[in-house]
Amino acid sequence: MFIAIAIVIGVASLISGFIAIHHEKLSVAIIASGMVSLFASVIFLLLAAPDVAMTEASIGSGLTTLIFFYVLNKIRQRND
């Protein structure tokens, strides 16, 4: 059961990683890279490391995603 969940989450994070690299729209790519962190935090939780999962969820998928969006916004302003 544990292995099945881990495989599903692993495949999902691989797919979102692929989307993050190859999607044309940068905003979708940023959200997909945040999703990789979210799946990683679930895997940490399954591996009995709740403290690492907390850090990964809040920093990896929260703060980093927002910082990427700010940078994207800045680049768009410059290009206009």
Binding site: D51, M54, S58, N73, K74
Partner: protein, 234 residues
């Protein structure tokens, strides 16, 4: 063509190294020497129910001090790099109207997020998580506030005071350990108390509260600075 072959060759080489590591890996049923020491003596010596905290704050407390310093440096460098002149600054930049959902949710959820963050670092010696996790959770509360109101400014005076007071207090508690207990960052300044109670494990809850405030202030400051930099004229 040559480039592609080189890339594939490199990937195959890295894959081979990792396959070798994977093949040679044997999970061990017993703890290593250091781990066994922590597991056997941690509860008696430190009095923390959460052994990870015992290692992070007491046995490897100096490393934690280094990590906090690195985080402080990062926040300082970001503030330094993103500095700009006052005339380049638009006080209230036009922003898209925040959706009703985000606006109402931020007012309801932000206090709860702050409370969860404070809970995590105050109970660092009992439950999973600690200063860094609690600080990150508090910063994500600030993140929600910034998202709901993009022109929301963070008071740098408050951040600077919280940050420096908690940093100084952390080092002072560490130095007091040299004179009053066994060494730098020794947690036996106060009594160890009963294992599993909130007021136990010596000064670990106090140190973790300061670490949590410091990390929360630093991460919020990074977010605030980056959000502020959006107001710069091009």
């Amino acid at each position: 063509m040559i480039k592609k072959i080189l890339i594939i060759g490199l990937l195959a080489g890295v894959g081979l190294i990792f396959f070798d590591l994977f093949n040679a890996y044997q999970g061990s049923e017993v703890l290593g020497k250091t781990g066994r020491y922590y597991a056997e003596n941690g509860a008696d010596e430190v009095g923390a129910a959460n052994l990870v905290t015992a290692v992070i704050v007491t046995y490897r407390g100096l490393d934690t001090l280094g990590e906090v310093t690195i985080l402080f440096l990062t926040a300082a460098i970001i503030s330094f790099v993103l500095k700009f002149r006052r005339e380049d600054f638009i006080p209230n930049r036009p922003v898209r109207i925040t959706s009703e959902l985000l606006d109402s949710a931020s007012q309801v959820i932000v206090p709860v997020i702050f409370m969860v963050g404070i809970y995590i670092f105050i109970n660092g010696h009992l439950t999973p998580g600690g200063g860094f996790q609690g600080g990150a959770v508090i910063a994500s509360g600030v993140l929600l506030m910034i998202m709901a109101n993009p022109n929301f400014g963070i008071s740098h005076k408050v951040i600077a005071k919280v940050e420096s007071i908690s940093g100084i207090a952390f080092v002072l508690i560490g130095i007091m350990g040299i004179f009053l207990a066994g060494g730098f960052l020794d947690n036996r300044l106060l009594g160890l108390g009963n294992l599993g109670e909130l007021f136990s494990a010596g000064v670990i809850p106090i140190i973790y509260t300061f670490i949590g405030l410091k990390v929360g202030a630093e991460l919020s400051n990074i977010l605030g600075t980056i959000s502020h930099a959006q107001n710069e004229k091009n």
